[in-house]
């Protein structure tokens, strides 16, 4: 199932950042071909992202002169099919959250294209974008700060309906009650305030709010990271049930590999603004190609004392995205790096059917 769609993955990240571009740059033509084949094989993906970049300026001094850029997202491309979950993993500062926000245009992309249902929405004005925004919703990490403490749970969930002028007051209330039931809350709790709910229940309110407008795609930005393990399982199950019932697509952003593994169909691993590996989950977890993916997987502690695994402990910290290392961003920590890695940025290419990796050596 991943094969036909995988082809429409543009190889654009090869081009790298504006300042570092020394890749082979096979981007646009390939992606056009890929698109056609994907259309033929299956319905168009819900979301297609092509060579997305977001560089935040770093300003200094009295005149706020731009002295550099944070290369938060530096040429990211992927697609999400209908009813599919794509997991986006990486460590803090790798740009995974910025990818999510850029898709919703909560931050404006520097360059690249975002296609929703085949329609380019990258450069639409705020008003033009509004109807598309209902198709994409987001669930935030922190269930405590993402709900307005002065609104009741019911008001929070019905707000998107009001903004988009859906139904009258009683119809909206009915819809909210239905959404409450759907996420496992009692409709009687509609008039309670967020502080009267537990963390897990608050996250359910966040999910109900995201569902209100019947979106096609939900972006979950670390949606279970702030929850206790036993509650985490409840929320993950709800998300998976909803996907089955409503045919939703998810972009699931998380640093927790085990959670991503559980919920996703395909997984993209990010490091310093770029995707370093992209494949279906079984391939990622059983036969990773990129040394970073390998190290990341091996670093996760296994909750079984009988399992004695070979751990690859990486030295040092993630370098700053303001001054990413030359060539392959990972070469400073890579256990197998050679001279070439320092100079030449590896392209994200298909190493095996459906498995893309950006590494010179593997």
């Amino acid at each position: 199932m991943a094969e036909p769609r995988a082809q429409d993955l543009p190889i654009a990240p090869a081009a790298g950042g504006a300042s570092l571009s020394n890749g082979t740059g096979t981007g646009p033509s390939q992606s056009a071909n890929g698109k056609a084949s994907a259309m033929a094989a299956e319905a168009a993906p819900v979301l297609e992202v092509r060579d997305l970049k977001k560089h935040f300026p770093v300003k200094k001094g009295l005149l706020r002169k731009t002295v550099g850029h944070v290369y938060a997202v530096d040429g990211v491309s992927f697609t999400i099919g209908r009813g599919e979950t794509v997991g986006l993993v990486g460590e803090s500062g790798c740009g995974k959250t910025t990818v999510g926000r850029t898709l919703l245009r909560l931050v404006e992309p520097t360059s690249g294209q975002i296609l929703l249902d085949g329609k380019d929405v990258t450069n639409l004005s705020k008003n033009e974008f509004r109807p598309y925004r209902r198709e994409m919703q987001i669930i935030f990490q922190d269930p405590f700060s993402s709900l307005d403490p002065r609104m009741t749970a019911g008001q929070i969930v019905s707000e998107p309906l009001e903004v988009h002028g859906e139904g009258d007051r009683s119809q909206r209330r009915e819809r909210v009650a239905e959404l409450f039931r759907r996420v496992g809350l009692r409709p009687q709790q509609m008039d309670n305030f967020p502080h009267q709910f537990s963390g897990g229940q608050r996250q359910r309110i966040g999910i109900a709010r995201a569902l209100a407008l019947n979106p096609k795609l939900i972006i979950g930005d670390e949606p279970v990271s702030a929850l206790d393990v036993s509650i985490q399982a409840q929320v993950i199950n709800i998300l998976m049930d909803l996907q089955k019932e409503l045919g939703l697509s998810y972009l699931f952003i998380s640093h927790n590999l085990a959670v991503v593994e559980h919920i996703s169909h395909r997984i993209a691993v990010m490091y310093l603004g770029r995707i370093v590996e992209y494949a279906d989950k079984k391939t990622i977890f059983t036969a990773p190609r990129h040394p970073y993916t390998e190290a990341l997987l091996s670093a996760v502690p296994v909750p079984d004392p009988r399992v004695k695994r070979k751990k690859i402990v990486l030295d040092g910290d993630v370098p700053s995205p303001v001054k990413p290392p030359s060539g392959c961003h990972f070469h400073t920590r890579c256990p197998i790096a050679v001279a070439r890695c320092k100079e030449e940025s590896p392209a994200l290419v298909e190493k095996a059917p459906g498995q893309f990796a950006a590494c010179h050596l593997r």
Partner: protein
Amino acid sequence: MTSTNAATAPAANPKAATPAEGALLTVQDLTTYFFTRQGLVKAVDGVSFELQRGETLAIVGESGCGKSITALSLMRLVPDPPGRILDKSRIVLDGVDVMKLDESAMRKVRGNDISMIFQEPMTSLNPVMTVGDQIAEVLLLHQGMTKAEATAKAVDMLRLVKIPTPEQRVREYPHQLSGGMRQRVMIAIAVACNPKVLIADEPTTALDVTIQAQILDLIVELQKKLGTAVILITHDLGVVAEAAQRVIVMYAGRKVEEASVEDLFGASLHPYTRGLLASIPRLDLIRGAEDTSPGRLQEIPGIVPALHDLPKGCAFAPRCTYADERCKAEYPAYEEKRPGHWAACWKSEIVAGGTNG
């Protein structure tokens, strides 16, 4: 140290005499309550355990289970008011009854005999002091070193926790360091005086996965090198399996299970522990598994009860699939169900019959 030896005498209490023999740290009936406007919060309710020399004991549980308050109680750092460690609690560290020490004697114990690593390295370091001065501070205070000696030792400590170019880093401020390095500095401060007991409260939770692995390795390595006993407080069962020898599981302020790591992960006897183990997605299971379509995770229904309003019987009964009338009426006895394997559950024999996780 010598001044505290006088306090050893009261430890000749018949109750404590036997366990105090071999154990480095003996905790008996530790009870810490908070007196709040909502009512009495029994944060830690009658917790007892022993810690052997050089051993790593993990305390696991979800937020609000009392694991961090247990740690703070051991250091006697519970804010009073609203909190109070009840008088019946006994904490005996290497023959010294810590509960009987006055504040100035306690200050000599903290950082010297028992020290602690906190979760948030950014908020627990002083932003306006160089990391060198922060390490030197404990040495000046406890070891009576001169400023020059302490600074030289600070460099050694940074080297011990594997910070590159320690001579330069010693003069830097916390904001100049990454999260992982800050946690290394915290560890350097904590082990500078070569404590007998090191309490690590969620030491890797705020860190990235690859950094987590580094820090966990460092703690295990230092423990071997220095012979420190470690109390590892965490919610991450993976970390427990990797670093600890013995585990205590806490729920709603009480100990519900205690066993060796092998027994707990292999054949846990409490339904809460079973539920926890079953509810975490496992990376190692997919490798080699044929069916990779995402299945449902086993969940523990309901939520952790509020600590000021605990049910009458077993606190876990409202969420437990095994619970019956007795569980709801009567708190289960904490018993040794198997050699070295303790649990507080009326149904542990039925639980033991079920498959684990």
